[in-house]
């Protein structure tokens, strides 16, 4: 068991660090977070730089244009990218972490030729059309219909929680093609170009006050049958084949951001006056800072265990559910601590006193995104209890 870099890993790290040091400063400044077209421009500009340097699709197989890096190298690159202040995967998330790997595993050669390069270069931005208003945790109960009409599917229905839909070119969509079949059996996985007539995108404003998601309203949207990935009515399996792709390193960018917010809050605490001294002099607050730092360290180690287990071809410990549960709780606790430190300054999204107080309030509210998105914490608890601890299923 070791944490140090092997010689090859140290070499990879040094080369990545040197490249990042040159590349990051050439980027345009970070845009306003609510300006989605500007965010797309910046994220895809960064993706193009990665592509040209051979760092795009770092964990994708080389025969599909990726770098074919080991999970450890992937982790190293993410660490170094964060250290260099590089953007996170941003609007490239669905394409790189989910749709692309799905096409690699299940797509036709034509679909792979058309889409994979675009994802890697940043030219194609994807969104995910899985969830529906009546199909959240119980995703397989989705009702958006696709009816075969010659060599097209005609889709009608509604999707929700579609990140980046405002600026996406393609949507990976699950639709119901056989309403008579048992609910997991009649689902099909389709590639839906976002400029197809009949798609209406309505931004959904979150508790943070920004439009992170959108709802999609689909009215007789015609998609060629050649856009189907896998067999008709086999979409549930196709969707599940790749859900594991984002486990292990999927949360690394998020976690680095949380680590940064924690560090910033330490700085804020040291500058925030209290009746005696600063907030940092309050032993209760300081202990919570230490406990949260310990937990962040532990979740880093947890990630490294998952990555190493994946490298050995093993099953990651307690899958993504255990990590997500712990991480969600951590983000909430950090947010709670921020409110205690900021006190009345937490009543503003706008920075107060020259400190990045707004980011802390956003961070607090973001906790709900972590603990509800991609399956609520309670759904993760059920998964762990049944699949890992082997407890009996609830009577349904």
């Amino acid at each position: 068991m070791q944490l140090r870099d092997s010689e090859a890993d140290a070499d990879f790290r040094a080369r990545a660090r040197a490249w990042l040091a040159d590349a990051v400063p050439t980027l345009a400044p970070e845009p306003d977070p609510t300006d989605w077209p500007a965010r797309r421009t910046r994220d895809t500009q960064w993706q193009r730089l990665l592509f040209d340097a051979g760092y795009a699709g770092i964990n994708w197989p080389a025969e599909y244009g990726g770098r074919g890096a080991t999970p450890t190298e992937h982790l190293i690159f993410l660490e170094e990218a964060n250290r260099a202040g590089a953007p996170d995967v941003g609007v490239g998330f669905v394409g790189q972490m989910h749709a692309g790997p799905t096409l690699i595993a299940e797509g036709t050669p034509e679909q792979q030729d058309h889409h994979l390069r675009g994802i890697l270069t940043g030219d194609h931005v994807w969104c995910q059309g899985f969830s529906e208003p009546e199909a959240g945790s119980d995703l397989a109960s989705l009702r958006t219909r696709a009816v075969r009409d010659g060599d097209h599917y005609v889709i009608s229905g509604q999707k929700i929680w579609t990140s980046h839909a405002q600026v996406a070119d393609y949507c990976e969509m699950l639709v119901r093609t056989d309403p008579e079949a048992p609910k997991h059996k009649g689902i099909t996985w389709l590639i839906v170009p976002m400029d197809t007539p009949g798609i209406e995108v309505r931004p959904l404003v979150t508790v943070q006050g920004s439009a992170e998601f959108a709802e999609l309203f689909l009215d007789e949207v015609r998609v060629p049958v050649t856009n189907r990935v896998g067999a008709e009515n086999d979409g549930w399996r196709v969707a599940n084949v790749t859900l594991s792709f984002e486990r292990g390193t999927g949360f690394v960018g998020e976690m680095l951001e949380t680590t940064r917010l924690h560090g910033e809050l330490v700085r804020i605490a040291r500058q925030t006056p209290r009746a005696s001294g600063t907030a940092w002099d309050d032993v209760g607050l300081r202990r919570e800072f230490g406990a949260l730092a310990a937990e962040l360290d532990a979740l880093w180690a947890f990630t490294k265990r998952n990555v190493s287990a994946g490298e050995r071809g093993g099953i990651p410990i307690s899958g993504g559910s255990g990590f997500k549960l712990a991480y969600g709780a951590l983000v909430h606790r950090l947010g709670d601590l921020a409110l205690r430190v900021l006190d009345r300054a937490s009543l503003s999204f706008d920075d107060i006193g020259g400190l990045p107080t707004g980011a802390q309030v956003h961070g607090k509210l973001h906790g709900f995104g972590v603990s509800t998105g991609g399956g609520t914490s309670q759904i993760q608890q059920n998964i762990l209890a049944e699949r890992v601890l082997g407890l009996p299923r609830e009577a349904r």
Binding site: G263, G290, D297, A301, F302, K304, S308, A326, V388, L391
Partner: protein
């Protein structure tokens, strides 16, 4: 980086687990805490496995494995509720003659700055080792004035209150003490991780067997969520304890003091919270002496204050934050 168990490490922990299951079943564990119950022969068998010298160089009679392997052994022993001065023996093998072989039973105490001097296993020990900022002193247990407690909280961990410590010349200085404190804290935290997993396993088994309302109670979400949280606490704590173990072997991989303190914060929480949950899951039976659930909680209380406590550890981590 390769942060997963190797086959050798798996074999090592399997061997310890089999030994503990065979030679230290619950009745034996409980009996060890009774006056005169400390079984020197069985303690000798544990020592004969090489347990206390896992991380001691071969030239000194040890097995010569990395510290992280000793961490894994303590995790396993903690899960089995193995009784006796395990941390003391692991720290003192190679320093105090006879400890490695199990012939000399040691007790160890980090001299407190306030409050009573409470020492585990002193009643059954041959020597008491006292550490403080200056160094380390070895005293014959018989020369120490102490009051043995009749009803220790953990029935398998006898404790004594030391009234007065004789003066002895120190062996080893501040640097040695600093290292022992870190390793002692780490081994106790490792035992807490094993403890947290084992108390959860006990509760999970019960939740599968016990029926109410015509169904196993483990099918109810109210219990599932409690037990899933236990699982996560163990895995998070285990990650931090293993990382600290690796850092003890690879100083360039991190700050050992911070890693050990962080591991204490999480391991103490996992040990105590999981054991409490385990009692709750057992319902009324959990509140009885018969069921083992309480043994895990009481042992976790012993371990969480060995060479540091969670509050102090959280502050120690905070002290490393520059902001």
């Amino acid at each position: 980086m390769d942060f997963a168990l190797s086959d050798d490490q798996r074999d090592l922990t399997d061997m310890i687990r089999r030994f503990a299951d065979d030679r230290f079943p619950t009745e034996t564990v409980r009996a060890f805490g009774e006056p005169g119950g400390f079984d020197r022969a069985r303690w000798g068998e544990l020592a004969a496995l090489g347990t206390f010298g896992i991380a001691l160089p071969e030239d000194d009679g040890g097995v010569g494995l990395p510290v992280v392997d000793m961490v894994l052994v303590h995790e396993t022993l903690g899960g089995a509720l193995t009784p006796g001065p395990l941390v003391a023996a692991s720290l003192l093998a190679g320093l105090v003659p006879g400890v490695l072989e199990g012939e000399v039973v040691p007790a160890i105490v980090d001299r407190p700055t306030h409050g009573p001097i409470v020492v585990e296993h002193l009643r059954d020990a041959d020597v008491l080792v006292v550490v403080d900022d200056d160094g380390l002193r070895v005293l014959p247990a018989a020369a120490v004035t102490a009051r043995h407690i009749d009803h220790p909280t953990d029935p398998a961990t006898p404790v004594s209150v030391v009234e007065a410590l004789p003066d002895e010349a120190p062996i080893g200085g501040a640097a040695l003490v600093a290292r022992l404190r870190l390793l002692g804290s780490l081994y106790a935290s490792a035992q807490l991780v094993g403890n947290s997993e084992a108390s959860t396993t006990l509760a999970v088994e019960y939740a599968k067997e016990r029926h109410q309302f015509g169904r196993p109670i483990g099918s109810f979400q109210g219990l599932k969520h409690l037990l899933a949280d236990c699982l996560v606490r163990t895995e998070v704590a285990r990650s931090s304890v293993w990382a600290a173990g690796v850092i003890a072997d690879e100083p360039e991989a991190g700050d050992l003091a911070r890693a050990v303190a962080g591991a204490r914060v999480l391991a103490a929480k996992a040990g105590t919270e999981n054991a409490k949950t385990g009692i709750q899951v057992h319902g009324g039976m959990g509140f009885t002496w018969e069921v083992d659930a309480h043994l895990f909680l009481k042992r976790a209380w012993v371990l969480e204050t060995q060479f540091g406590d969670p509050d102090g550890a959280a502050e120690a981590v905070a002290d490393t934050l520059v902001g």
